[in-house]
């Protein structure tokens, strides 16, 4: 290892781990001791990353308050140092961290709230994609419909949550007092996507969520309707399927519809 490489490794350890070895190679300034000057880098490291987390998770910050968010943020910084050159991706692991690390894992609403904010952030700057219009559907002959396959818009994603984090998100967004955190009897099925430039989400029924998940796995419309028939009244399954499809298209959730083989 070159002397330059050794020095950089020590400098980094000094910031990340509090190791003072590098101070032996740093000078006092005319007005200040080296420990204080090196401390500028130590302080900036944690505070910059926690600030990035605050920007990405405004409502989680609002929910936890400054002190708890900072404590949580510094724990995340310690547990998961950044490996990506773009700060945009630093908070990506936060939902998983909150789900698995004590004491946050005792409050599953935190992980759910972070996951919802992450999904909205991801929708905001997701890749562009063509949006299927209702008029595009007129080109398919009625007998082709059972073979139709669907391609989701790049900004569309699904999230299942086990708490009332969506209600808490809405209350915080509207400057209202959030409800007490509770677990749900059945998971809530959320759809997140971008409409023009605005990220949005809505809750799906279990049936619609199943249809979306299977549609995006490449299952054709005819089979989707057969699957819907097992969820509720079989006679109205095709109508329900067509209704969900209509909703997806008007919301801009599909980027392509094609007749699959």
């Amino acid at each position: 290892m070159s002397d330059f490489a050794r020095q950089q490794a020590e400098f980094q350890r000094g910031i990340l781990d509090g190791d003072d070895t590098v101070l032996a190679e740093i000078l006092d300034s005319p007005r200040e001791k080296r420990e204080v000057l090196f401390g500028v880098y130590r302080y900036a490291y944690g505070s910059r990353l926690v600030e990035a987390m605050r920007n990405d998770h405004e409502l989680l910050h609002l929910y936890l308050g400054d002190e708890m968010f900072n404590e949580m943020g510094h724990a995340y910084v310690k547990a998961r140092p950044s490996a990506h050159p773009n700060l945009r991706w630093f908070s990506q692991g936060l939902p998983q961290f909150l789900k698995s690390a004590n004491p946050y894992s005792d409050h599953p609403v935190l992980s759910d709230l972070a996951a919802l904010e992450k999904a909205l952030n991801d929708a905001f700057d997701a890749a562009e994609g063509k949006v299927v219009e209702l008029t595009d559907m007129a080109g398919f002959a009625p007998e082709a419909w059972s073979d139709l396959k669907f391609q989701p818009h790049p900004s569309a994603s699904r999230l299942d949550i086990a708490t009332n984090a969506a209600a808490i998100w809405l209350a915080l967004k509207n400057d209202e007092t959030p409800p007490d955190a509770t677990g749900l009897q059945q998971p809530a099925h959320l759809m997140i996507w971008r409409h023009d430039v605005t990220p949005m989400f809505r809750e799906l029924s279990a049936e619609e969520a199943m249809m979306w998940d299977e549609a995006t796995n490449g299952i054709p419309f005819g089979v989707l309707c057969e699957m819907l028939a097992t969820y509720d009244d079989p006679d109205s399954a095709a109508g329900r399927g067509a209704g969900y499809l209509h909703g997806w298209i008007t919301a801009g959730l599909l980027t392509d519809v094609s007749v699959g083989s």
């Binding site: 070159s2 490489a5 980094q12 490291y45 950044s82 562009e128």
Partner: protein, 301 residues
Amino acid sequence: MNVASRLPDSSAAALADRPSTSAKPSFLGFGLGLRHQHYEEILGGNPPIDWFEVISENYMLPGGQPLRTLDRICERYPVVMHGVSMSIASTAPPNFEYLQALKDLARRVEPKWISDHLCWTGVHGKNLHDLLPIPYTREALDHVVSRVQLVQDFLGRAIVLENVSTYVQFSNSEMTEWEFLSELSRRSGCWLLFDVNNVYVSAFNHGYDPLTFLNGIPADRVVQFHMAGHSHMGTHIIDTHDHPVCEDVWELYAAALKRFGRVSTMIERDDDIPPLDELLLEVARTREMAGQVLLAGSRAE
């Protein structure tokens, strides 16, 4: 026979200094750092700004509003790309995925130039998201020269490097920062972004005269000035970019104009972002001051 003597001539040449011969970028006028808080006002009003500098990483994204806005800005104004994560002085292997994303963005933006900082941001697979200082040694200079050459070859253009604000100095430095920058520019052919505020901050922190730094930089290598604010802590100054430009830095700007002449200048504000009008006043002041100083200089001649 040693390994070096077995190298074909072309390989040996590849290891030598290969300064880029790219033409010096032309003068753009007086600009501002593009920040999302001002998107609407800029697109709605076409404010009198000659050019914008954009933070490259803010647009190294798959899509959405940031890139759509950037496209519209590029239709109306000259744009320069300024990055914070090239980590040109890192001893870790270069991040080619990052460089490819930078190159892809440049293809979209067609920037007048691409700049970053003389610094490193991490080693061993970690990124500290800070502009970390280096020792000014011959070993570090050789390393950075070779990295700049590699990046310039990869991007297919000369890059522009900025002096950063530093809070510490290394005991093993063998030259000054301005000597290091001058040699780096001469040997690699990279251009220099002279951050007036950073010179002021580093000079205060390390106890030297900012004019010594200024006079040590070759005038023909500087293609851009940065002007920014900082936070004074009494015994040291932190480069926070969250205040207006202070009077001492305006004074140093006048000295920089006298030495470097007409140079593309911009106001760089990254935190506590004020209304656009407030920043436009600072942009107007860079323009007025340049007019006065350069006019006085031409009269004196």
